[in-house]
Amino acid sequence: MTEAYLPILVMMVVAGGFAAIALGVSALLGPRRPNPAKDTPYESGIVPLGDARRRFPVQFYVIAVLFILFDVEVILMYPWAVAARQLGLFGLIEMAIFVVILLVGFIYAWKNDAFKWQ
């Protein structure tokens, strides 16, 4: 069985080896003459204005956090969906309770202006 995966292993070894050899050889053989111009992010382009790692407004994080929560919690609906018919009314009530809990959280976030871009 494992033989089936042999080509993949070979490919990984070849790819990794190639990358290692290429980097290693150039590091060993290549000349090293750094200058300020070379160290800029765009060696032959416009002069960068300020730091590339710019700060994002904090609202991005709020949105991201809320997205993750409501998005991922829905994962729990998948197993229910698979077995919904067998679980019947009991499962439906369970899921309704779950959704209500999410809903309360949603309302709380909403009323606290979490979705307003201030």
Binding site: V58, Q86, L87, F90, V100, I101, V104, G105, I107, Y108, K111, N112, D113, Q118
Partner: protein, 528 residues
């Protein structure tokens, strides 16, 4: 297809708590007087406590079955141990809420995000701004999170499946991470939350991996089934050798929550940085929940054989000694009590390391005693803490006996109980666990424990010295001229302290109802 059977009485406390948390979140949007929310949550906790006692009166175990290919197992078990630990958690929660009712505003009120951003750009201290109309009060979130944490802890205390334990642990941990960082005006609070969170998540990783490896070794996560499966010759398990690895990693997770050395390093930072009512709550309730779960897990997986007990004994020695030593030279009282709580986790662990009936009974008794005395001690700290501060140094209690004799006397009782002076509860807790160790043939462990409590007496004593044998840091003149804010603790805080002290005394002098309940709870466990 069999339907899962839900046994509502078993999860009744959690249902009450979660429902109350949701109601509070919604009510928070409607009411302006946040104190009402506190009362609602207090009623919810009392309701949950009542639910626990209803379960107790039925006294049979309520299995919550999870049907599955690996055979049915129970997810939660309302046996004596679970109910006892739940009761301890709920008592802690109730006292913590009562404690916070008057003081929650100190750390839950802050400027709205919009105005805060402006200040962050213009000035460096958004704290200094006078509270204007833009102030937000997050008290509702505070109570809701506290209730959710309580729900998680009670769930952990009754959980009888490793996955339930993990989820319960995460529920209360997540709530606690936020609660620790609740004081937005103090950077220390945020720092404490950050450290607690990063390390907590790290330890959760170990915990989960431990569960995975135990699952690999035994093919199940139900404690009952594990106990069955690891009997020799029951079923073939190719990954059986992974069991000790998994158990070790699981113990790391428990060690983190219980603040055992060397998994303790977050404790002083988190306890010091967190708002004082939160510290009071988490220092006792977390331990109650995690100890109950640990007792259960050890009974199932380790079956109390010697290497386990020795590992626990080693952890106990490290924990007691380091906790006590580090507490000796602290200036912040909150930090001192944090180290002291580490030391107490060590004493508690002695009972488990003894591994016999008496030791485990002693640990449970100690747990309840510790709940009262440690929570009471933090409550006193809150009583003397200034509204604009988040920490309490020794200066705050200098000469307290002169200003507030009652408060000082109550604190002295708590300190003496923590130091293990009879006839207070703390003494009997130590007596039971140490006697358990002697009975188990671990007399050396008892000796280390007793020596450590002598060491511990030193710094508890220092507190009473500061209160009874020192003059206040500020002269009377300064106080009367209004330079220094004189703080009269509100009645709610005082009630909490009085209740905690009463608990400490009653538990010491009127023991048999408690010890009988505990003996019943422990008798159902598979111990040596």
């Amino acid at each position: 297809m069999t339907f899962p059977t839900l046994n509502f009485p078993v999860i009744a406390p959690q249902i009450v708590l979660v429902a109350a948390a949701l109601i509070i979140l919604l009510a928070d949007l409607m009411v302006a007087n946040k104190r009402i929310l506190g009362w609602i949550s207090l009623i919810a906790v009392i309701g949950a406590l009542a639910a626990v006692f209803v379960c107790r009166s039925d006294s049979a175990a309520f299995p919550l079955a999870l049907g599955g290919p690996s055979g049915p197992g129970t997810m939660a078990l309302a046996d004596g141990l679970g109910l006892f630990a739940s009761a301890a958690v709920l008592i802690a929660a109730g006292l913590a809420i009562l404690l916070a009712i008057e003081r929650v505003g100190d750390f839950s009120r802050f400027e709205k995000p919009g105005s805060e951003k402006k200040q962050a750009r213009s000035g460096d201290h958004p704290i200094a701004e006078a509270p204007g109309p833009q102030v937000t009060d997050r008290a509702g979130a505070y109570y809701a999170l506290l209730l959710l944490a309580t729900a998680g802890m009670t769930a952990m205390a009754t959980a009888s499946d490793l996955m339930t334990i993990f989820i319960a642990l995460e529920i209360f941990s997540l709530a606690l991470y936020i609660l620790v960082g609740f004081n937005r005006r103090d950077l220390r609070s945020g720092e404490a939350a950050l450290k607690y969170f990063l390390l907590g998540a790290f330890a959760s990783g170990f915990f989960l991996y431990g569960i995975a490896l135990i699952y690999a070794a035994t093919g199940t996560t139900s404690l009952e089934a594990i106990l069955h499966n690891i009997q020799p010759m029951s079923i073939s398990l190719p990954f059986r050798p992974l069991l000790p690895v998994g158990m070790g990693l699981l113990l790391v997770g428990f060690g983190f929550k219980l603040a055992l050395v060397p998994f303790h390093m977050w404790t002083p930072d988190a306890y010091q940085g967190a708002p004082t009512p939160v510290t009071a709550f988490m220092s006792v309730a977390t331990k109650a929940a995690a100890f109950a779960a640990l007792i259960r897990v050890l009974a199932a997986v380790a079956s109390y054989d010697r290497p386990w007990l020795l590992a626990l004994a080693a952890l106990a020695v490290l924990t007691m000694t380091l906790g006590n030593l580090a507490a000796l030279r602290q200036t912040s009282l909150k930090r001192m009590l944090a180290y002291s709580s580490i030391a107490h986790a060590g004493y508690l662990l002695i009972g488990l390391a003894a591994g016999n009936q008496l030791g485990v009974e002693g640990a449970l008794y100690y747990l309840l005693a510790y709940t009262f005395m440690n929570l009471g001690a933090f409550a006193v700290l809150l009583a003397v803490q200034r509204r604009d501060e988040n920490d309490v140094t020794g200066d705050r209690i200098l000469g307290l006996a002169g200003r507030q004799p009652l408060l000082a006397a109550l604190m002295a009782v708590l300190m003496f109980s923590l130091a293990g002076i009879p006839p207070l509860a703390g003494f009997f807790g130590k007596l039971y666990v140490f006697s358990g160790a002697v009975e188990a043939g671990l007399a050396w462990l008892a000796i280390v424990g007793v020596l450590n409590s002598a060491l511990g007496a030193y710094y508890y004593l220092r507190v009473t010295i500061l209160m009874f044998m020192a003059e206040p840091a500020e002269s009377d003149q300064e106080i009367s001229s209004g330079k220094v804010e004189t703080l009269q603790p509100g009645w709610a805080v005082m009630t909490t302290v009085v209740l905690a002290v009463l608990g400490t005394i009653v538990l010491g002098l009127w023991q048999w109802p408690w010890t009988q309940t505990i003996a019943q709870a422990v008798s159902t466990l598979a111990l040596r």
